[in-house]
Symmetry: C2
Subunit: 560 residues, 2 copies
């Protein structure tokens, strides 16, 4: 009878335990969890604070409504789950684990044939003056969610400050905004979502959040917190911000102390090193979830990328390998999706910045367009940026944002990346078309087509950032080919040297330009901009570019 | 200066013309269209009838609001589009096309270097008595949409009959239902969507539409229409149905007369045969869109599969090849997605029935589950069925239905199929996870996992159809492992020999069964059913099966 001990009772730990049980009815399986809750859905907590979810209990329930507590695991899966039980030592020679019940003080020694380390990660808590004040929360446990929500419910919270414009930070900013709380996000780096978005896309997202009353302060450093017993103000290097509550969301660190003390290898990222079978440097000990490092399958680099989805995959693979299979975990794409109010933002594979850092050759293209036929109600724009290897034409990564259906396109691109797809494959894919869901040529295919046109020299794009520079230097002629009505509604602000010539008139007004002029064409989504460039080039113009993503993706100010 | 003549001014024709223009500014491009409208979005017409779209003009507008008429194509793309112009002959020796203006009677001869045949398809009009009565529409042109909608708007239509339970038929049924018109769908075959759904999934969709007051009559043949000037009744082999309007949607036929008369090869499917470059048997003549046949990339068979999305791809490929590239079209997956009221239904690759006909070895699994975490508002169930090659473990096809997000999963599966993905690839995919969009283990991965468990012998599924048979023969013990509350709310009707034992009690009540019993376990989605099977097998039971897809996918009656 095989003895399996699992340290950690959330995603990877319980999943591996359950998988072992399904494969081996006789194994003796023990899960040791330091906290009082197990198997909770932490990712849903911002939506509880935002009021979408009535009770915090929902996070520990199965879809059928059972509470996932030790009794549930005992009855259903015959797994012995011990909560409030702290593991103090792993003895690899004796193959035992020493643990202590935090309530009763009872100490125990558990022998194992296989051990699973699923100790998770902990939020980084910066050692700033005032960090001990009440009302400063790390958002990592349901207790924090309950405290924050009850403060809002009681009307005690008028001003919230979120530190860190990452996933949890922006989800919490949305939650506060939804509940009518003033919210300011302070981010040390000079862009939002610095871990996974390229500059111009981050800027578009920031423009959206700012327009929707979530104040985002970039390149600003928190120096201290003030208040008596409770926090009252956040002091940054630039200002003082009133705060009834503070959410710290500047990242997490893997919990590796036990593994380290046991002499297991720790990777370069600071997380536990595992092989493709999720084994640590001791083959009898597996590790998974937020405490281990992963391999990015595009860059081949080790990454620390804690995600609930990855943790669950780890759990299954560990379970299979414990019962004697040889199942490999291929790695991750660092795929991310996040909702900020009614904006959807996603990323998979590597960013342009990562391609630069890795020294990879690459080409990018960014296209905007409606997510379904424009005539359907609810059609909304989305913008997709692809990063592609110009030699092999293989996709390296993708980012997308917009009020339309972004997650679907990110998932298609993640599937494509997993399989090593080229832009030609992407264009060919027979995706599901019907007007309630998508256009005949899906946004993904349009993006792939834009890269093809760039590679063949037909499409000369210019990023919004470069266009803005040219604009400021008064270098080029900016040609807005939308209709006068569209131009009067909204246009790029401070755009010196813009001419508005509707696309349909362009062929007859070519004499208004000089063939040697540098011309930067654009429209709402830059499809007409591209048509304009084709007309100009066909007429012998030498230097014509198109602003990628058009006005809907323009990250700078517009005038109305 | 290259001369390009295009026959047909809708999707494939105009797309190929536009692509040629972008690549070759000097080509002389002429598009000849028999009708008065060009480039219209016919797929949106049911939504115009349903009232979602205000004006039928929307179908000929660009997203920016320009009307796509000949003037637009002249000004923007320098393409000469002639409407109401019927092509009467293709002379391949002289490389000319003879055409006639249907209004003025003017005849013309157009020389070509390359010809594109994009003559589309026409709806099948059965030669039934009374077919000439007013109020019987084929739904293929905006004029039909205008006539039907105006009849509804004026209150003249109380009862509608749709003939054919395919895509257009069911979209029109939804439109009538939305507008408060009684609607009956008559389908000759014994299931809905006979072209692309397996029996048990079609039955679930029929159950849904029936519960939502769209009456679907299967295996019923229309014999004639009665009425004086306008249709009044549809007479089938089983009954007489009152009808103020009839929609004929029993399929379409490719328009191949011109191609046939010119001696071009016609394929087995009856559509124009083309090679991978979209060339007909005459290499100077290309053909694309609804008039050509495609290759299904999974079966390798030629198929007639008219789709707006495919037509647009054809257009681009034809345009590229005309300007001298060698771009191949790989083929289609016969991907389909359709909305019927609040139910989403989709399919990609081949069905189980097709796998049988092709004589391919295959295994299937069907799983149900919420499309995002159950605690998120708006979480809805979806059911996915995968068809997989048991040797290579490669995906062959997939079907899905449910009130949740189906189109995203079909697109991921279509991407996977395009790239030859295995179920192991599907499980590994780092899909985008966040609670507003999906669960940590996406439904696609759960489905892949179910197939893996089947192949390894862990999961012994039984289809609803087989379970129903066993039920009627009183063969097996049916074990519903939901809670008593769930059982009281809804349960399988006429289920003899059902025991309701909540999963959490099962381990302690094993003595209520005989180890030699055939036990069929299930729950709402059959996840607990699977847990129950693991418990029973672990305890030595010999013959335990799980109903695939659980009660949410059960296509037969339930009691409340």
């Amino acid at each position: 009878m095989k003895k399996v001990v699992v340290i950690g009772g959330v995603a990877a730990g319980l999943k591996s335990a359950a998988k072992v049980r399904r494969e081996d009815p006789t194994a003796q399986i023990t899960v040791l969890e330091r906290g009082s809750l197990i198997s909770y859905g932490a990712c849903g907590m911002p939506y509880y604070v935002g009021g979408l979810i009535a009770e915090v209990d929902e996070f520990v329930k199965t879809p059928a409504g059972s509470i996932r507590n030790p009794g549930f695991f005992k009855n259903v899966k015959d797994i012995d789950v011990r909560t409030k039980t702290l593991v103090t030592e792993i003895n690899r020679e004796a193959k035992t684990v020493a643990a202590k019940n935090l309530e009763t003080g009872e100490e125990m020694q558990l022998p194992y044939d296989n051990l699973v380390i699923a100790t998770g990660a902990s939020p980084v808590r910066p050692p700033l003056p005032g960090i001990e004040l009440k009302g400063i929360h790390q958002f990592w446990h349901p207790d924090d969610a309950v405290a924050v929500r009850s403060g809002i419910d009681k009307g005690q919270i008028k001003n919230a400050v979120v530190i860190g414009a990452g996933l949890v930070g922006m989800e919490m900013a949305e939650a506060f905004k939804t509940r009518g709380v003033n919210v300011t996000v302070v981010e040390m780096q000079d862009q939002m979502f610095p871990a996974f978005l390229d500059t111009e896309i981050a800027a578009s997202v920031t423009k959206f959040t700012t327009e929707n009353s979530i104040n985002v302060l970039l390149g600003e450093k928190v120096e201290r917190f003030t208040g008596d017993d409770r926090v009252k103000e956040v002091v940054t290097d630039k200002r003082v911000i009133p705060a009834d509550i503070v959410i710290l969301s500047i990242g997490v660190r893997p919990n590796v102390e036990l593994a380290k003390a046991a002499g297991l290898a720790i990777g370069k990222t600071g997380a536990i090193a595992v092989n493709e079978y999720m084994q640590t440097s001791d083959p009898d000990i597996y590790a998974g979830g937020d405490c281990v490092e992963n391999t990015n399958i595009i860059s081949g680099k080790k990454v620390f990328a804690p995600m609930g989805s990855t943790a669950n995959k780890h759990g299954r693979i560990i379970g299979e390998n414990i019962v004697g299979k040889r199942t490999e975990f291929r790695g991750v794409l660092n795929t991310v999706v996040v909702k900020v109010l009614h904006l959807n933002v996603g990323k998979t594979g590597i960013t342009e910045r990562e391609a630069q850092v890795l020294g990879l050759p690459y080409v990018t293209a960014m296209v905007a367009g409606p997510d379904k036929p424009h005539y359907m109600p609810g059609s909304k724009p989305i913008t997709i940026k692809l990063i592609v290897d110009p030699e092999s034409r293989k996709l390296l990564g993708a980012q997308a944002f917009g009020e339309g259906e972004v997650a679907k396109r990110i998932d298609v691109l993640a599937a494509a990346l997993t399989m090593g797809a080229t832009i030609d494959d992407l264009f060919d894919m027979d995706l599901a078309y019907a007007p309630p869901y998508s256009s005949p040529i899906d946004n993904v295919a349009v993006a792939a087509n834009a890269v093809m046109n760039k590679l063949s020299g037909k499409f000369k794009g210019i990023s919004a950032l470069s266009a803005k520079e040219k604009m400021e230097q008064g270098q080029a002629v900016f040609l807005d080919v939308r209709s006068p009505e569209e131009y009067n509604q909204i246009r790029i602000a401070d755009c010196r040297g813009t001419q508005n010539i509707p696309l349909g008139q362009l062929r007859n007004r070519l004499d208004e330009f000089n063939k040697e002029d540098e011309i930067v064409a654009f429209c709402k989504i830059s499809l007409r901009g591209y048509e304009a460039a084709c007309i100009l080039e066909g007429a012998g113009f030498k230097d014509v570019k198109v602003i990628e993503g058009g006005i809907v993706s323009w990250p700078f100010a517009c005038e109305k």
